[in-house]
Structures are given as structure tokens and as C-alpha cells.
Symmetry: D2
Subunit: 363 residues, 4 copies
């Protein structure tokens, strides 16, 4: 870690919920530091501390507090950056990110706009960093040398694909997946869910969330085509997946109940599944990415864990927690996943994706 | 309803959560009235108002407040009753209820102890009142003339079997059911769940709840054997069912996400399912039971309903709410059920069961 | 109540939180019925049910659901109304209400805009209906015959002035009042408080609320000047009052801890205070206003009451609850008040104010 | 800090909420380490991990997890300890702690039992460590050489006495204090408050809490008598204090609204008060106690801070937060205090008290 080059980071959407998390994470990062803060035109020119509604439990880092906000328009200051993180809300995120890519900047985004693009990787860092191999094709399509866009997944997708990847690695392709989510209010940004709507309540609907989970899972668990020009969407063994998404009165941490069946007969036992989950390692750990969790999947034996309040901050929310691995009365196996939607489910994923790209010499 | 005989009611476990609900319901009942209150030996001899920790939002009815509590031991006062309701906790509920039955009293209980008995009906009033036909056999086994026990189901089972029954009536036997529950804290009695355990949290485990849901569903949706001596447990078309039960920070109202597949091919469409649910009527409505809901199943078209806080008190919680009826990516159909766990999921079920038995001349 | 004239009611701000409450209350009112619904220009011309985000636990009344919304601009339809209720948000409430008054319509408003006007009554119906005697002066100033504006108080003010009025009636003028509020989120309208801000939290600040409580209390507890042209603001015995306002994670019901000292020495004992609160009656009860509570102030003897969840719906929230009346170590007496901020704290106050005006022949 | 003697620590009540906090704090302490764990007789002999219901968000320290629990009875193992911390519940805490003191062990306790003893210090470490000077008298009364008991204050008292001490230091004696608390559920231990009692609710009563706050404040803010044999209870300028205590649905962090008047005329301005609070330093900081906060009192200028969720973990909850310092309409000054009831309000206070005693050579 000695004498490492310091990367200059620009943050698009720096005043929003995800932007604040990037700032918080970078404040203790070994080799990345916040260099430019981007927000709406009407915030530009003002000090960050005077504009932001800071909602983190740690204070705004002193140096960031005094930075002057830039508009999200490429200029010389932005061009000094080595990496761009985007915490933009979906509205115009797509165009802004494309313009930064066009200026030869590598963009790692939490927004959904580019996720379905045929040449844009959708990467959960503990699952499919191999999808970065499509970046050269993305660049050649656009005539770019250094600029590219990498997206990370929807927060509820992220939680399940990590254990599902571990299961496919160990036991071969999955056949069917039924998942019901209980998602935290922080997943909706700020101001997000009105307290009057969610106090003492469950809202059994999150707009377009179920479609995202069902579609993204196949792209992430699938591979790269042999010509390195796209993604196979798990085509050889198409996944059947059904998601039911709910908002519950919890601040952070998405809990998901998952039932799966395998192609292979007989299916693995709960004990074999637990062992496979525990042993699962991935490339980010080999690459030594500093924000990666030591243990990708923490498996709980207690009968009533994981729980969001007790487990969401384990490993700073960079891993996932799995518990209650048991036989399913209809499918083969069922279990509970708990993932931190504001960490591995959002900013932390973008950050580790950038660490991977850096380790591979792409930045 | 004119000149109707007034039924005298005894309540076992009258100071508990379910007991309080019985008292509240009877205070406005057209032909049943509270006659004896039973509680633990150490409360016996004291005024109800001096012992109870009343947790209802209406006040203790004046006459009940002044009643002297009896021990849960059959005596002359108890024998004056026409009906016994039991809100006893599971511990010694079984023996106490059996002793009241043995004294020729009809017992309607919310406790789980007798639910699996081969000659004891497990009745959700909007589903299987026909199971009362086994009562003569129960009595003959025990040499009784008037005494019997009827149980009602676990609160989370109750919510799903009502729409499932409507679906089987309309479209023939179901094949597979996967359900994930988000259950309210009031389902755990009082003091029940510690606030420290459930604030800002989900607990993905409720002791033995999943087994109850999986087993009870087959008994309730199944029929009575042709000799009227027992239950067929849906044996001709065995149900495959898998439940995942969670506690969420909601006061009242269990929300359940259900995916089902039918035996019949092709399966019904979402529109056909909604129509069948809306049209579903049951014997309690024909019999004119005063506590039965006008509409057994309320089907919501809004994309984000039902919700516990907004819908749990519709029809005083005596019906169920279904919403988000749509195709399932793995099974045929999925939907959301919301049922009031302290109404149709508990005391209200016992009460309507007694109304049915009364209408049929069994009391 | 026989053969009573039916009053036609127009509702300004009918889609908002307070407007919804007016509709709910009028649906069961003996002699008022909803006649016109007013909302923003962009909602005008559409059916109520297609525009409103209905957040009440009862359904939209059938006839109201199908009504076509009008803009909040006086026209022939509005002029058919006998009474106008305003649930407008503060922004342009002042001007709109003035224009309706100018069209000779009696306006009862929950908005703050006109509360401090020297000729406009600020009436808490259980406290100072006598302030209606200033209406003729208000009309003569504006050259009006039938039109006028009556305001009701801020929700947190309403809770305390009722018991304070009872104390002044019984024991003479108060000297000092220190009050700390714990206010429900529903006091902030919809969407109001973001869930992310108030979950697992207390916000010790509500914009301008403390000033409102301190100022409004003197106007309400004070009298009318002898020329019936204004209000004396309790000038003879100026009140010293200090309020600290907090938002807490509760849906409905404001809890307030109050310490008071009296001018008179020796001060009354807690027992005398409780008796005075219990015996307190007011003009609305004599006048037979149908929405008035039977018991203006319910006094609790239990050591831990009132509590918002258990007591806010008593008497449909039209009275107030007082508990823990005891000696104060600094002042004379302290106690806890619980009032329903969406009932007596808002729409119910406007409604009873109109019932008073009607009973007095002013409508 | 080099070559420091390691202190062996015994923890009475090690499985309870406060006991768990001691373990968590000691796991990262520079010179104290957990040596013996004490719990009830029925837990004795078992491994800590097999008995404890661990409710912290960090995991049980590995070495502690495997320790065998001792009964809370002095034996050779306990006698090896340099310090005893007690997180015992009030029941028999008094006798057990006295027996450990009798065995010449220094006991620092969070329990209330000994707080009112005339020769036992009641110490809030950021306020009155000088009260340790009474320890020699306590020992001489009991014929002890090393054993003693030091208590720390009730969690709600702790929050206010820190700023009150700063004010008396700067502006002379206070005259009157009126305080209303909004206390977190974690203040009630485990299982503590039933979720059914506090969800969507405020409970305006906490048994004997108001008396504790009113009495303890005078002992803590007062001095030591000149003969070093007792406490003057602020006798020269007796404090008038009135507390109203409420439980609110918050997990951690007590919020308190305080109004004060000073003896001195004219009183200080809000700006002077803020400056005095910010500048306040105390002996623990001079002594270099490792668990003491850098800044005893953090003063907020934002209009809506402090808030429990955002501010309770600042400085690991070892300091207090004050905000909204402003004029009071009745007294001189009012403000809001936020203190972490499970940190400075409980275990952290005991810990710093021991650090002080160690720094002074008393251990």
C-alpha cells in the first residue's frame, strides 16, 4: 500500500443520499480522495456545507465541507479526475454520465439508466467483475480510449445474487428462484418515503423493483459472450425468477426470503449449501481491493438471524449475511439474506468496482 | 333477530390479549353476552378492572369491569354458560379446555393444543364450517352429549386459506404454494416481542409458525372423510406448501406474499382470479352470522394495496384483503394478502365459529 | 334535531390531509353535507377519486368520490354553500379565504393566515366561542352582511388551552406556563415528515410552532374588549408562557407536559385541580353542538396515562385527555395533556365552530 | 501509555444490557481487560456465549465468548480483579456490591442502590470526580483499606448535570430548573418495554425516574463537606427542580428540554451560555482518561439539532450534545440536551469513573 498513486475522484450527485455515502467512504480510503463535487446548477458555486442536508451519523469531512460545488458539466476541473462516481437520481443520470464518459472519464454509477445497455457491464463486485472484459468493446463502439461506464445493480438484486452465485459455482445452474423482499426506507433516497405512509405499515409495492430484480439477476449471473462483445444473460440455462418487493419500517438493511431449486438431481443438502456459502470467495479478495469484505458471505447458525439492525453494519456492510438455510417444502432450499442497501447495495459496490478496474490497470 | 335467546358466554383467559378482544366483541354482540370471566388462580376472586392490563383503544365495558374473576375450573357458575371461548395461552390450555368439554360445555378456542386432534375440527369460519359435521363423532368418542371443542387456526394460516379456498372452489386443486409472511407484533400476545428486538428491525423467524402454516392449510382446505369421523387432509391432491415467517414492526395486520400453481392447465388468468376472489361467498354469510363480513375477500386494484395500517380495520377486520393479483414468473399467479391477526386471525374466528354452531342448532 | 335544515358545505383544500378529515366528518354529520370540493387549478375538472391520495382508514364516501373538483375561485356553485371549511395550506390560504368571505360566505379555517388579525376570532370551540361576538365588527369593517372568517388554533395550542381555561375559570388567572410538546407526524400534513428524518428519532424543532403556541394562548384565553371590536389578549394579567416543541415518531396525538403557576396564593391542590378539570363544561355542550364531546376533559387516574395510541380516539378525538396531575417542584402544578391533532386539533375544531355559529343564528 | 499495568476487571451482571456494554468497551480498552464474568447462579459454570442473549451490533469478543461464568459471590477468582464493574439490576445489586466491597474490591456500579448513601459518591465523570475525596471516609467507616463503592447517576440525570455544571461554573448558582425528558427504550434494559406498549406511542411515566432526577441533581452539582465526610447537596443555594419523564419510541439517546433560571441578575445571554458550554472542560480531560470525550459538550448551531439518531454516537456517546440555546419566555434560558443513555448514561460513566480513580492512585 506504500507509495500508491492517489486517485482523484469526482462525485456526480454529491449532495444526495448516495453521494454522501461516497464522501463518507472516500474520507477513509487508502488511495482515493474526493476532488470534485457535482450537484444541480442551482447549488453550483456554493460551499458543500451550505447546501447539503447531511444525514450521515458521522460529520462532514472538514475538507469536503469547504469545497465549492460544480455543476455536472464536464470542465477542466472534472477532467483532472481519475474516477467519476455517480449517485445521480435516474432522471438525467443517463445523459450526464454519457457526457462524462465521452470526455474520456471512467464512470462508476449507481443509477439504473445504463444497466440494460448491451455493451455496459452491470457488476456486483462480489459476483461478476469478469464482465469488465466487455469494456474494450464499449470503448471501440464509441471511439473512446479511456472513458467507459460501469453500472452496479439495484440494491435488492445485489443481496440475492451473491449467494446465488456461490450456489451456481458449487452446484451448477439454478432452475427457479422465488424471492420476497422486505426493503428498508433508505433504499428510496431522500426525502423518499413519507413517514405517514410507512409508520406501523408495510407497503407491498416498489415501483419497477420486481422487474429490475428479475432482469438484472440473469445479466449478473450470466457470462460474457465468447467474442467479448456482450453478455449471455444466462441463456444456456434460463433462470425462472419471481420477485415480490415490499417496503417495511426499517432504516437500513434489506431482508429477503429466497427459495431456490437446482437443475441437478439430487439437490445439495442444507449443510452442503451452508458450506458452499461460507467457502465462497471471489476475485475482489484475490485482487486485494481495500473496500472488499474479508468474508463475502457470513452464514448464521442462530435460528433468528440475520436481522437488519444487528447485522447490517458487520464488515461495514460490504458483505452479505445468510441465515436459516433449510429445506423448502416446494423447492429444494430456502434461506434468508440480509444485505446493507446503502453499502454493498449502493455506493460500496461502485467503489469496489472502481478498485477492481484500478487493480486491473483500466484506470 | 327478534326475541332471540341470549347466550351466556364464559371466557377462559379473560385478562390476556385474546380474552380482551372477546370482551370487546361481546360488548356489541346481538345475542351473546359475557357471563363468566376466567383467569389464573391468583387473579380469581378479584374484580376484572383491578387485575387486567387493558390494552384496547376502547374502554373496559362497565359491567365487565366490575365482574369477579373465576379460576379456570368448572363450577356451577361456569355451567350456566351456553358457550365457552378460550383465549388461553398454549401451556395448559389443552387440559383446561378438555375439562370444560368434559362438563358438557361447547368450547371454541384460539389455542393451538387441540388443532391436530383427529376428531377436532380446525375451522376458519369463511372456509370450512362444514367440518363441524365431525362433532358428533368427537362426542361419541368421549361419551358426551353437548360438550365439544372447536379450534380455529393460527393467525397467519387464516389469512391465506380464505383466498386459497376461493381459488380451489373456482379452478380446482392447487399444486404448490410458496408464502412469505410479514407478521405484526400483536400476534405474539402481551408483553410479546420486546421493543428492543423489533424496532428498526425484521426478525426472520417465529417459533414453529412455518410448520403450523404448512400443516394447518391441508387440514382446513381438505374435506371430511365420508364416514364423518375425521379429515382427509387434502389427501387426494396433496398440497406442497412452503412458508417463511417474519416479524415486522407493525402493530396489527399480517401481510403475506403468496405464489401458487394450479393442477389445471392452462391456469386461470389474473383477471379470472380476481373475479373468483370477489365472488367468493361462504356458508357463514348464508347462515346470517352477525359477525361475518359482508364481503369475504376484498380485492384491491390499486397498485400498492392492501396495506396493514389502511386496510386492517375494514369490516372490523372480519374479512381479508387481497391485492396485486398478477402472473408469477415461476408459478402461475402471485398476490398479496392482508388479514387482521387480532380479528379474523383470532377472537373473531372463534366468535363466528360459535355463531355457526348456534345457527346449526349445535349450541 | 327533527326537520333540520341541511347546510351545504364547500371545502377548500379538499384533497389535503385536513380536507380529507372534513369529508370524513361530514359523511356522518346530522345536518351538514359536502356540496363543493375545491382544490388546485390543475385538479379542477377531475373526479375527486381520481385525484386524491386518500390516507384515511375509512373509504372515500361514494357520493364524494364521484364529485368533480372545482378551483378555489368563487363561482355560482360555491355561492350555493351555507358554510365554507378551509383546509388550505398556508401559502395562499389567506387570499383565497378573504375572497370567499368577500362573496358573503362564512369561512371556518384551519390555516394560520388570519389568526392574528385584530378583528378575526381565533376560537377553540371548547374554550372561547364567546369571541364570535366580534364578527359584527369584522363585517362592518369590510361592508359585509353574511361573510366572515373564523380561525381555529394551531394543533399544539388547542391541546393546552382547554385545561388552562378550566383552571382559570376555577382558580383565577394563571401566572406562568412552561410546556414541552411531543407532537405526532400527522401534524405536518402530507407528505410532511420524511420517514428517514423521524424513524428512531426525535426532532427538537418545529418551525414557528413555539411562537404560535405562546402568542395564540393569550388571544384564546383572553376576552373580548368591551366595545366588541377586538380581543384583550389577557392584558390585565399578562401570561408568561414558554413552549418547547418536538416531533416524535407517533402517528396521531400530541402529548404535552405542562407546568403552571397561579396568581392566587395558596394555589389549588392536585385534587382540586382534577375536580375542576372534570367538572369543566362549556357553551358548545349547552348549545347541543353534535360534534362536541360529552366530556370536554377526561381526567386519568392511572399513573401512566394518557397515551396517544390508547387515548387519542376516545370521543372521536373531540375532547382532551389529562393525566398525572401532581405538584410541581418549581411551579404549582404539573400535568400531561393528550389531544388528537387531526380531530380537535384541526378539522373537528372548525366543524364545531361552525356548529356554534349555526346554533347562534350566524349562518 | 507505554508499559502500563493491565488491570483485571470483573463484571457483575455480565449477561445483561449494561454488562454487555462493559464487555464491548473493555474489548478496545488500552489498559483494562475482562477477567471474570459474573451472572446468576443458574448461568454459573456455563460458557458466556451459550448463555448470553447478545444484543450489540458488534460480535462477542472471541476470548470473552469462551469464558466460564461465575456466580456473583466473592471467591479467589474474583479476588484477582483490580476493578469490579456492576451492571446488576436493582433487586439484589446492593447486597452483592457491598459484599465485593467488603472483600477489599473497588466497585463501580450503574445500579441505583447505593446512590443515596451519605458516604458513597454519586459521580458523573464529566462533572464531579472531586467527590472521590469522600472514599477514605467510606473506607474508615467500614474498616476497609482498598474496597469501596462508587456509583454513577441515572441516565436521564447524567444528560442534564453536565451542561448545568458548566453553567454554574460560569455564571454562579442556578435557581430553578424545569426539565421534560424523551427517553429511549434502551434505558429500560432487556426485555424492558414491550413493543406493544411503545410502538406509535409515548408513555408519559417512568417509575421513580422523576424523583431520581430531582434528588440526584443536587447531590452531583453540590460539593463535598469540609470534613470530607459527606456531600452538601447544594445546600447553600438549594436547587428547585421539576422533572417530567417520558418514554418515546427511540432506540438509544435521551432528549431533554431544559429551562433554567440563575440567581444572578442579569442572567447570561444565549451567546454567553453557548460559549460557556463550549469551553467547559473537566478533570477527566486533564487526567487523560482514555474513555473521556475530547469535547465534553458539543454545542449545535443548526436549528433542529441535536437529534438522537444523528448525534448519539458522536465521540462514542461519551460527551453530551446541546442545541437550541435560546431565551425562555418564563425563565432565563432554555435548551435541548441529547445524551447517549447506554454510553455516558451508563457503562461509559462507570468506566471513566474507574479511570479517574486509577489515575488518582486509588486502584
Amino acid at each position: 500500500m506504500t507509495a500508491q498513486r492517489q486517485l482523484k475522484v469526482g462525485i456526480l450527485g454529491a449532495t444526495g443520499t448516495v453521494g454522501q455515502r461516497f464522501i463518507k467512504l472516500l474520507a477513509v480510503h487508502p488511495y482515493m480522495r474526493t476532488h470534485v463535487l457535482g450537484a444541480s446548477a442551482r447549488s453550483a458555486g456554493q460551499k458543500y456545507i451550505d447546501v447539503v442536508k447531511w444525514k450521515q451519523v458521522t460529520r462532514v469531512p472538514e475538507d469536503v465541507a469547504q469545497m465549492i460545488i460544480e455543476a455536472c458539466v464536464v470542465n477542466e476541473r472534472w477532467k483532472e479526475c481519475d474516477v467519476i462516481f455517480s449517485g445521480l437520481a435516474e432522471g438525467d443520470a443517463g445523459e450526464i454520465e454519457a457526457s462524462f464518459r465521452g470526455a474520456e472519464l471512467p464512470v462508476f454509477t449507481n443509477a439504473k439508466n445504463h444497466r440494460r445497455e448491451p455493451s455496459t457491464p452491470l457488476i456486483v463486485p462480489l459476483v461478476n467483475p469478469s464482465h469488465l472484459s466487455v469494456i474494450p468493446h464499449q470503448q471501440s463502439l464509441l471511439g473512446l480510449k479511456k472513458g467507459f461506464i460501469v453500472t452496479n445493480a439495484n440494491c435488492s438484486t445485489t443481496g440475492i445474487v451473491i449467494p446465488l452465485k456461490a450456489l451456481e459455482d458449487a452446484f451448477g445452474p439454478l432452475d427457479s428462484i422465488i424471492v420476497t423482499t422486505m426493503q428498508a426506507i433508505s433504499g428510496a433516497g431522500y426525502p423518499g418515503v413519507a413517514s405517514f405512509d410507512i409508520f406501523d405499515n408495510v407497503v407491498p409495492y416498489i415501483g419497477s423493483e420486481e422487474e429490475k430484480m428479475e432482469w438484472e439477476t440473469s445479466k449478473i449471473l450470466g457470462g460474457v459472450t465468447s467474442d467479448l462483445k456482450g453478455f449471455d444473460l444466462h441463456a444456456e440455462n434460463p433462470l425462472r425468477i419471481s420477485a415480490s418487493c415490499n417496503r417495511v419500517p426499517v432504516l437500513e438493511g434489506h431482508t429477503e426470503c429466497v427459495s431456490v431449486s437446482f437443475k441437478r438431481r439430487p439437490p445439495p443438502s442444507p449443510e452442503q449449501v451452508k458450506e458452499a456459502l461460507r467457502k465462497y470467495t471471489c476475485e475482489v479478495q484475490t485482487l486485494g481491493c481495500p473496500s472488499a469484505p474479508k468474508q463475502a458471505i457470513v452464514v448464521h447458525e442462530e435460528v433468528d438471524r440475520p436481522q437488519p439492525r444487528l447485522d447490517r453494519d458487520d464488515q461495514d456492510g460490504a458483505g452479505v449475511n445468510v441465515g436459516r438455510v433449510r429445506k423448502c417444502g416446494v423447492f429444494d432450499i430456502k434461506f434468508v439474506v440480509l444485505s446493507n442497501n446503502v453499502a454493498i447495495g449502493a455506493a460500496t459496490s461502485s467503489l469496489i468496482n472502481a478498485e477492481i478496474a484500478y487493480a486491473k490497470g483500466m484506470i
